[in-house]
Amino acid sequence: MTRLASGGRIDRSRPLRFTFDALPHTGFAGDTLASALLANGVRVVSQSVTYGRLRGIFSAGVEEPNALVQVGGGTGSEPMLRATQVELYDGLVAESLNARGRLSPEPDVARYDKLFAHCDVLVVGGGSTGLAAALAAGKAGARVILADEQAEVGGTFLGGRDLIDGRPATDWLAEVATDLAALPEVRVLSRATAVGYYDQNCVLIAQRRTAHLGPAAPAAMARQRLWQVRAKQVVLATGAHERPMVFAENDRPGIMLAGAVRTYVNRYGVVPGHRAVIFTNNDSAYACAIDLDDAGLDVPAVVDVRPNPAGGWPDRVRERGIEVLAGQVVSDTAGGNRGLESVWAGQRIDCDLLCVSGGFNPAVHLFIQSQGRLRYDEILACFVPDEAPQAVAVAGAANGTFGLRDCIQEGLAAGAAAASAVGFGDGHPAGAPQVETVAEHPIVPFWLVPDESGATQFVDLERDVTVADVRRAVGAGMQSVEHVKRYTTIGTGSDQGKTAGINSAAIVGALLGQPVAAIGTTTFRPPYVPVSFALFAGRTRGQLFDPARVTPIHPWHVAHGAVFENVGQWKRPWYFPHDGETMEQAVLRECRAVREGVAAMDVSTLGKIDIQGTDALRFLNRIYTNAYDTLAVGHCRYGLMCKADGMVFDDGVVMHVGPDRYLATTTSGGAAAVLDWMEEWLQTEWPDFRVRLTSVSDQWATVAVAGPRSREVLRALAPAMAADAVSFPFMAIREGMVAGIPARVCRISFSGELAFEINVASWYGLRLWEAVMAAGEPFGITPYGTEAMHVLRAEKGYAIIGQDTDGTVTPQDLGMSWVVSKKKDFIGRRSHRRADTARPDRMHLVGLLPVEPEDLLPEGAQLILEPRQEPPVAIVGHVTSSYRSAALGRTFALALVKGGRDRMASQVYAPLPDRLHPATVTEPIFYDKEGLVRDG
């Protein structure tokens, strides 16, 4: 065991059992899986992805490249978690991975939710800087959100031994936490990692809510939560990541980042070895030597690349009798299957732990995502934030400010400034507490220990990429880090190269004879840490993937056994089968009812747009291909609209319902797109028009009553409404009471039969429907669905936009020149005159009668003229609609055929897998050509 007897922020009274690769171990509450593994003497935690080399825990945080594990049990296992970030719980089951995860086939039953929040100041990172910033902004009165990725705030200094105002820094931490909790406008989110920084200061935060509880997690609680925060000001206090130096055989278990070793000792009471060597180019790792010495380890040497490290830290270390090997490097290591056994630093030094520090890289990932720019700081030897286009400030280690005192000061100042920028406080921070500081000996940038022996030197541990790979890439002609990244895969792992990126840039620079500053970094992209698919998906799953829209009449349809079809977001009755009926039988029966008796359909799903304003008429005239000048109040007119390319886009009926007021219907699936389209023109092209558009699709319920006996049903429902053909002509609108409900009735027909559409406020929809069914009962009224409606309209040759058209069809192609005004301008008109759009041999909508009357052509079937051809075969068109007709007693189809109107009575063939199916081209109207029935 390598657990210290005391110390750290773990609770030794709460042991937790867990297994790793099926072996049982015990840790304590407050441990991460990584600290517990180290405490149990587990040094090898994975094999590398390409070379299968043994790897150990390297870091103590998000940057971990080696300790990737599968954490399982319960409701399926999660791949590729970092042991350094997995909080231990009792019963945890983990397995090692070779940097490649496994997807569990067990369904993920957990919930993931989302929350949208706004604040004045968002502080990212709850280390000393972030806490100070949140405190300053909060005290000024701003609404503050502080997000920190760890289980408790405190950041790096939980792993240190600093004194603040003469007391352990953790005392200060506790005070600040209490102060923050007392501020009602400050919200502290823990286990919450800011992962994405988007435009307009939108920051995504992924919060883990139950994973640390293991099986004890409350079932009703969302496992994770995705916060989308809009902040007026953002303070990034995201700290810095320690970077290693690169040397031969630098990947053995037992080789760790020096700061991480300190964290294991001080925060978790774990010593990850027995005999430790430090390898550094800066002062920070000296503190590691002291901590290890205090913890009772043998520390034979600090290997420092600097020629004469002097001053506070080196002196303190020397005072303890630890040898400082100045101007030396670790140039090689040796070890066995438990990891490191010795290092070579001009001499062989036996050790099982090597603590490496090559300096620190400010965690600028979010800053880059915010479109901030970096600058290379020669003194600090790292990239630091420079210009920032968004309202963001970077403070503390993330800004290249590394001392605790300076971090707190900078945090306070940034918090106060951010609050004051949005109107809270005067921008002057409170005084900072006293922190002991030690004068530092400057860092000497050092990246790569030269090696002539051809030994393996790893740059990216997760991706198993070596210096030789980088050399090869540069040798091949690559000069950009982005190329080297793609050629070698450096930085493409799940750690996003947090410990590899800058080293790789420096090595590329060295090979090209350029400074690292000139090489730059690759672009950091969201997310900052891996985020589960399920969290991004949130609640948008199952039936909530896209909420289903149903009409007020829906319950009746369900109760009466309707089979539903998805039409856009709507659930529409497709047909209403009787017991033992097939779909075909049901549809034929429904069609017959419309043609011979009376039938009713719920058409509430049609899009409805209320158009008001003094320019409404002008607007309609431009949007639709036909003109509305002569449309009197109380009448309606069929309308067609085109896109700018002249192709049919949608259709519907425009009702003139009052002075300067119209109601336009759209196809059920097209409502949103049509409203969008209208708004786009109004807002961008005709902003001077006085027109207001309102979607009222859901406000009206509509029942179509169709069939020769529909008038009788209407009379029964609305005795006061004159329904005879003269008083209530085709395309007229009447307002009045229907079944005791205020209603607007239109005489329009999509079936070609006499028909009335009754519109009522949607909350009366069901009542109206029931009244219609009751009034129609003596006439045998039949409910019908979309399929019968499709057949009936096809018999009349009415195109369904989106089925018989596909964005390449003009009104003329549909044979609908009658609905295209020759006099006025409208969207698409100019395009109709283009040479190709005016060609006579375009695809025309025609009818098809299969030569065998029982032959039902599949919709989508392509048509050809010549039976025997080898591919590519010339295609002349395709079947758009195809049905069996009760009225015709046979099958028929609609099709788009090249020059179709000139091919009447000629033959085309549908080549289907079984054989060729011949059909005769006809007019696209099969029923009541004269319109007598409809107008009756």
Binding site: M80, L103, G477, Q496, P526, V531, F533, G542
Partner: protein, 403 residues
């Protein structure tokens, strides 16, 4: 897996010469393949490819590498099928393992409408000699077992079209393979060289202004994808192109789980698993117009919701990286390849969300167009003046499949 699978030498990094016979603006996949075929098919090697950033760092480095040729219209089918045939021998032609894998591309349908349009495409493909099959849900289960075929889905899977010859390739390797061979023919690949203006003499282009100085050119060939409008505007040419962000993402490396490419329009996502094991996916464009290579988070949220709907097994995979490219969308969602009203200036753009698969054919026909001064029969229908004539090749109508 790293470095060693690549050749030792890829390209020189020459400084630009004062003048070239042909200057190609834009060193993406299409620019590089154009340079290669100019040299290989037409013997024109005094050529420079000018790239403002690093070679193939635009959409070529950002796309999700779906390759298929099952387009609806004859004109599209012809050019994309030509591309497919080139893909089938490209690794040998270029002597580079580009990881081309014909693992099959499934297009799922979720409504009667989708299904009708998919059938239409399948029937059309077969007549055009392109392999196409219709799979029932049971057949999908066999072909790709992890697709969620539950009837409880909000939009249940009703079937799928399948092109078995479709698949993926490694985008970067494709670019480098073309670059390497072009370089070997003597083509100068000039990086960090932004074209900032054009030299005109009457109605003729004679050269370009660049961030590395003026360069004279016998012919200038635009190949700048998302930035085509910016370049064309420099010569007063108004291209009918809108540039939109298109985002994509990858997961961490995972053990093999998905054996083919799956696309769905209604539950909008498309996904494949790359050779190393990461899931690669994308969805629709960000609706706003932009030249910035980034998009909005809700697009990512929606596409992952779709992914988890269709593949519940993906639930606990993680997004490791998201990014955006800028795609050049034309009014009919088909490319523009051909001459311009300005003599000796050529244009190749409008490939939008789906031009990776066209990389070889695009270069092939564009090189022909540049060399001969007239379009190859395969790109003749894709001329710029089709918008004035109205001879659109509308691939985003009802049967639309992006990517």
């Amino acid at each position: 897996m790293s470095g060693s699978e690549h050749p030792d030498h890829l390209w020189r990094n020459p400084d630009p010469k004062r003048s070239y016979d042909v200057v190609i603006v834009g060193g993406g996949g299409h620019g590089l393949s154009t340079a290669y075929y100019l040299a290989r098919n037409h013997g024109i090697t005094n050529v420079a490819v000018l790239e403002r950033g690093w070679l193939a760092g635009g959409n070529m480095a950002r796309n999700t590498t779906v390759i298929r040729s099952n387009y609806l219209w004859d004109e599209s089918a012809a050019i994309y099928e030509h591309s497919m045939k080139l893909w089938e021998t490209l690794a040998e032609d270029l002597d580079y393992d580009i990881l081309f894998s014909q693992r099959g591309v499934l297009n799922l349908t979720h409504s009667l409408h989708d299904t009708r349009e998919a059938h239409r495409r399948v029937y059309a493909n077969r007549l055009n000699g392109i392999d196409a099959e219709w799979l029932t849900p049971e057949e999908i289960k066999e072909f790709c077992p992890i697709v969620n075929l539950s009837p409880d889905l909000r939009y249940p899977v009703m079937g799928a079209s399948l092109q078995r010859r479709g698949g993926i390739a490694k985008h970067d390797y494709v670019a480098w393979a073309f670059a390497r061979q072009a370089d070997a023919f003597g083509v100068d690949l000039v990086q960090n060289c932004e074209v900032t203006g054009f030299d005109l003499d009457g109605g003729r282009v004679t050269g370009v202004q660049t961030s590395r100085g003026p360069i004279a050119a016998g012919k200038v060939a635009l190949c700048a994808a998302g930035h085509s409008t910016v370049l064309a505007a420099m010569v007063g040419l108004d291209l009918p192109i809108q540039s939109h962000p298109l985002q994509a993402l990858v997961s961490e490396l995972l053990e093999p789980a998905l054996n083919c490419v799956v696309l769905s329009n209604a539950v909008h996502v498309y996904v494949s698993q790359a050779h190393k094991g990461e899931l690669v996916m994308g969805a629709g464009i960000d609706p706003f117009i932009s030249y910035a290579q980034r998009g909005s988070p809700h697009i990512i949220e929606y596409q992952l919701a779709a992914a988890v709907e269709l593949f519940p097994i993906f639930s606990r995979a993680h997004v490791v990286r998201t990014w955006g490219g800028i795609v050049d969308v034309s009014p009919d969602a088909s490319p523009i390849v051909g001459l311009t009203p300005i003599e000796n200036l050529f244009v190749n753009c409008g490939w939008g969300t789906g031009g990776f698969k066209a990389t070889p054919a695009s270069g092939w026909v564009y090189a022909h167009t540049i060399a001969r001064g007239e379009p190859h029969p395969l790109n003749a229908p894709f001329s710029l003046d089709r918008f004035a004539r109205g001879a659109l090749i509308d691939e985003h109508g009802a049967a639309a499949v992006a990517h």
